[in-house]
Symmetry: C2
Subunit: 253 residues, 2 copies
DNA sequence: GCCGGCAATTAACATGCGTTAATGGCCCTT
DNA sequence: AAGGGCCATTAACGCATGTTAATTGCCGGC
């Protein structure tokens, strides 16, 4: 299915923080355990359960979701290939959220202890994983801004910009297209809208000629327009490096 | 003003993850640099600026805020005494958000390099700080759920529960009371409501006899009722230890 | 080739919350 | 004592989005 070793896309991501040495890359690769195939809607980790291993999405999609006692749902993250399922669990004894497969998903696993010892030998890997966690936090905050301040149209546009950009970072886009197997119910639970309004809003985006989304395929016809409609700035997806290098040049010359 | 060393409340917080040894505590205490007094609305850190030191709120309140190009504002965090201003900056070369003082605030500073070397000597401190960051992430996600899924009344009730609980953790409550110098405009930017509706909602909470909030003082008259109205569960404020132990009992017993 | 179920679509109607704007209280300044 | 600014409060009205519910299309199973 997926070409190359299962860590390919993770390494791609970590390189965004700091390129790993061949030695470090090899260590990480060799720490990866067996993969497992999940079916749609199957749980990868369940809230409160202790986790002996850290999942790595190799292919397919997953999401993290919070459910209120009366059934209201809020999806708080999407996980795409190259994402770790819950690096938090390296530090915490149990998972804090339930993560479920959105589609069929192939998930490799790092045994917790093995990964911990790799980190001990290669502190940069620990830092890189920590950086990944910070990135997730940035995304969570941006979602808060999205749901809190943007209109339905902007909100949807912003989500599509974000996901597309993340897919690009792991080389899963093809021109302006990428896979995006989200149902309108899931979009609604992500954007804090009703499904009816998601439908209206999607059609509006289509009518404007910006994007189309159907049968699991996202096509962006005019990214610039979409981005400016959404007030999307990709900065938060690259905390650190690029942003700073730009700035560094300002300081000593 | 504030009794004892400036790290008192931080240590109180970190102990929630893992009690630090006297040696570790002393190292951390000795790493703290000079304090600075900020005036209301003054910026502690500005987005994108490299930061040579990590702030620690000793007294007063601060907030992190994201502003959209057209002026819409979303407050994404409140910082209370004992909170680090941006531990992220240990890893990242620049701040990712602007943090501003809400009230007059006394902020101690850890020189970045000094703190890094303390962590090197005491890995547990690094872990504890990392745990603090995870906690912040948990809070961010909970705010997303709050703004996305709860009604105005529930939302406000939830925020008050959270802040009160956090204040309790650093021993800044007195019975059902604590300081909370939030204006209705700030509440609005936090909860993604209009100020008018915040006003209506606050009155409703008062009318129900649950809380009163005026001249910077929060009084909770019936925490249990408030908590159940808000569907507030303090679990997310204690990621890790306690949660798991409770669960463990359910399994074999 | 029919049936069942899920996802998308549409329409009609309802409402929680936003907007605008006016008023009053408080505190600080002069 | 008068003036100005910030904040809280209130009222009237409007709108973005929710709700309910019916319809359609699609796909897989039998």
């Amino acid at each position: 299915m997926s070409p190359g070793p299962s860590t390919t896309r993770l390494l791609l991501r970590l390189g965004d923080f700091a390129p790993l040495s061949p030695d470090e890359s090899r260590s990480l690769e060799s720490a990866v355990g067996p993969a497992r195939l999940y079916r749609p809607h199957e749980d990868l980790t369940r809230e409160g359960e202790p986790a002996a291993h850290i999942g790595l999405i190799v292919s397919g999609f997953a999401y993290r979701c919070r459910v209120l006692p009366d059934g209201r749902r809020q999806i708080v993250t999407y996980l795409i290939p190259g994402d770790l399922c819950d690096a938090r669990q390296l530090l915490l004894p149990a998972a804090t959220h339930t993560v479920s497969a959105l589609t069929a998903a192939n998930v490799a696993t790092f045994p917790r202890e093995t990964l911990l010892s790799v980190i001990e030998r290669h502190p940069r890997i620990g830092q890189a994983l920590c950086w990944l966690a910070l990135l997730e936090e940035q995304i969570a905050r941006e979602w808060l801004v999205n749901v809190g301040q943007r209109t339905a149209l902007e909100r949807l546009a912003h989500l599509l910009c974000e996901i597309f950009t993340r897919m690009q970072a792991v080389a899963l886009t093809d021109g302006g297209r990428c896979e995006l197997p989200l149902t309108q119910v899931e979009l609604a639970d992500t954007l804090a809208l009703s499904t009816v309004h998601v439908n209206r809003t999607l059609q509006e985006l289509r009518r404007l000629g910006l994007v189309s989304l159907s049968s699991g395929l996202l096509e962006i016809h005019d990214f610039d327009a979409l981005q400016s409609l959404a007030m999307f700035s990709p900065d938060y997806l690259h905390p650190g490096s690029q942003r700073v290098e730009r700035r560094r040049r300002l300081v000593p010359g």
